[in-house]
């Protein structure tokens, strides 16, 4: 190995550069998986041509196409806000990746408050949605933005609350600490609480992604592409495709970290320890991504009121009860069971 003498901020820059390179790459892979998995779930083939082998280069071709597309800003739009909105969506997405522990030591920036940071940063993108929708000067965009904001705020709560359950059980907000605190059989322990918290987190996560069946904010049959109706070219990519797919991976990664034991081996067998944690993390995250891809073509879109009802009348009460249960478990569970 070579030795490099880098100061702290230089290391930080290198890490940022790596993240900025790797996140889009992972997004491309996940986007391609989305095309293919969804196609096969629907008896289709998905992209077959670009790149030769099963259309592996489809998204590269798509990206090229979007780069070459004209960047249109509507005449009546608020230009400044309109151009900044994709940034306000894209940057928080990248920033969330920084704290995900891919392995025991493989984490860009290990924060004491990892979980809190993650939840805080990911909540910023809501503003980007509102900016995009309002500045487009388009009623569909505005309706889409308001729907998106209402949905993101509503589902932020069950996400935070169910993540709090994980933090309570682990006794820390550090993501590494949460992973370490989990033991086989991860989700199923403590009985009931873990699994339900995981399901609540997962359900709210699907809604946070504004993916089907919770894609009212971008329901194309009513409001075209919602807040991004007026976007084109790279701005469109950075405000819709990229955050959606990247967030899909990130939510899966967070769910893996919080509930599925992160980089720990799936079953506690001695010889499996030889496998690097990154592999386990990748496997589990890929499984979660597959679940998300599986859900998408399976269920029909909810109505806006059903969507809100699901959040406020089902997920939030459930997660509040879970918090009580988790507290009781932490305080009163016999020492042998914990």
């Amino acid at each position: 190995m070579f030795e490099l003498n880098l100061s702290d901020w230089q290391i930080l820059l290198v890490k940022l550069g790596l993240v900025l390179a790797i996140v889009p790459a992972i997004t491309l892979v996940a986007g391609y998986a989305e095309h293919k998995v969804m196609a096969h779930l629907q008896h289709r083939l998905g992209p077959m041509y670009p790149g030769g082998f099963h259309g592996w280069a489809t998204l590269l071709a798509d990206g090229l196409k979007f780069i070459y597309k004209e960047d249109i800003i509507p005449a009546a739009a608020d230009r400044k806000v309109f151009s900044l909105a994709p940034l306000a969506i894209f940057v928080p997405t990248v920033l969330t990746v920084l704290v995900l522990p891919l392995d025991e030591t493989l984490v860009v920036e290990e924060l004491d408050l990892g979980l809190f940071y993650l939840l805080a940063v990911s909540s910023i993108s809501t503003i980007g949605m509102l900016m995009a929708g309002w500045s487009s000067s388009n009623k569909y965009a505005l309706i889409g933005a308001l729907r998106a904001a209402a949905q993101l705020i509503a589902y932020e709560l069950p996400i935070v609350l169910s993540a709090a359950v994980a933090a309570m059980l682990a006794g820390t907000l550090s993501l590494n600490g949460i992973v370490e605190a989990q033991e086989w059989p991860f989700v199923l322990w403590p009985p009931g609480i873990g699994l339900i918290a995981f399901l609540v987190f997962f359900g709210a996560g699907v809604a946070e992604l504004t993916r089907p069946p919770f894609d009212m904010p971008v329901a194309e049959s009513e409001i075209i592409t919602g807040a991004f109706t007026e976007y084109s070219g790279m701005r469109f990519i950075f405000s819709t495709f990229f955050p959606e797919v990247a967030n899909m991976v990130i939510i899966s990664g967070v769910a893996t970290t919080l509930f599925l034991g992160g980089y720990q081996p799936i079953v506690p067998l001695g010889f499996l320890d030889a496998v690097p944690g990154l592999v386990w993390f990748t496997l589990k995250t890929a499984f979660m991504v597959f679940m998300l891809l599986w859900i998408r073509p399976t269920f029909p879109r909810l109505r806006e009121d059903q969507l809100q009802k699901f959040a406020w009348k089902f997920l939030i009460p459930t997660s509040l009860v879970l918090i009580l249960a988790a507290g009781a478990w932490v305080l009163y569970a016999p020492e042998g069971l914990k």
């Binding site: 096969h40 779930l41 629907q42 008896h43 289709r44 083939l45 599986w294 073509p297 399976t298 269920f299």
Partner: protein, 462 residues
Amino acid sequence: MLDERKLSAARKRTYGIGLLKGMAVTLKHLFKHNTVIEYPDEKQDLGPRTRGVIALKEENCTVCMLCARECPDWCIYIDSHKETLPPKREGGRPRKRNVLDRFAIDYALCMYCGICVEVCPYDALFWSREFEYAEYDIRQLTHEKEKLSDWMATVLPPPALEAGAEQPGQPVAATPAAAAPAPTAVAPAPTAVAPAVQPAGATTPTPAPSMSAPAETTEADKARLPAPPAHPAPRATTDPEAAGRSPEVPTTGQETVLSDQEKAVYQEDPGPNVDVPAEQPQPVALERSEDAEAVYQQVLKEQLDKGSSAQVAEARARVARAKAERGIKRGPTPLTVDKPVPSAPTKGAPRPEPSGAPEAKAPQPDPGPVAAPAEAGAAGSDEAETSAPAAAKEPAAEEPPSAEPVSTPDPQAAAPAVGGSDETPDQVFERVLQEEKAKGSSDAVAQGRAKAARVKAERAQK
């Protein structure tokens, strides 16, 4: 009855199970083989009636504009001009015919409703299965008539008739006149369409002339003239191409299936150059007009006697009754022969007149109107003089199709004179102006018509 409470209770019991079931369904499909046809590499066998592209049989087009008018998208563009043909016989009337200059369909606008194909009374438009005509430039999607004609080669034959359906050509074959078409049947059919178009074609397949022979059409038109003017035979799916058809064989070239009503029309007033079918189904029209119900019964009986299926017979009888009722209501008012249709029969249109065509069938119960279009069409022919007496009986007679255009009140009728006389355009202008004034037209109208006549005359000179 569904008990709502039970239902909701059942829903509650299975809360979440439905979601899992749905997931199971999609998962099952993940492992099934795909059903995709990888289009450019493999092609699906499209149904024979696929609406791919509309083909134009140019020779059949009479520029009646029905397709352009009915098109919901207004994607059909038709330009035409009138040509004056010399009279066929000495002393006859010069004839006019529409010549198609441009026929274009803008497939960028077309929504493939097929209405143009449906309304075309002369079978000039067909569906073809071809669909791969995408272009890089949207302007290329406007297919001009050459391209539209090229699609004709890809038009499939019509589907076989239903069992028990009336075979095309049967009634015609029953007439003595049917003997005549024999020679035409022998003629080779140059287009891919013709043979296939008539499944029962043994008796009547009409030879289609080569589609790319506009030059011949003048001759062909002459030959086609005697075709029954009032009966475009919309049911005939073949191309009723008349080239090589003798003037004496009016109906046979088309495997035209004449319904009884139609035949009845012939018999009432066959027109000068229509061979009356020998079958003589009795000119019952006069009686029929008395009572719609009687008409119904009569037609039903006739049809059944003829061997039509019960359904067909009933349908025709109903049509007859409806027409009879309408005819009674309307009374023997003249049909709109004097309506200034683009190519009124009086101008010697060599083809059956579209505007007259539908009406010709209508007035079956009422002999009065029936004769009008039939004659009007006939009057346009070179044998117009022979029909003059008949025409005189009709309201249309106020516009006698004589060779003397000076007296014609029809504004458009001014035109025939142009080709026929040696007047200079200015003379034509003056003359028409005088005529119009004499007729009592307003100054503006008279001026306009006169100018139009002059322009036509100028064009004719060139």
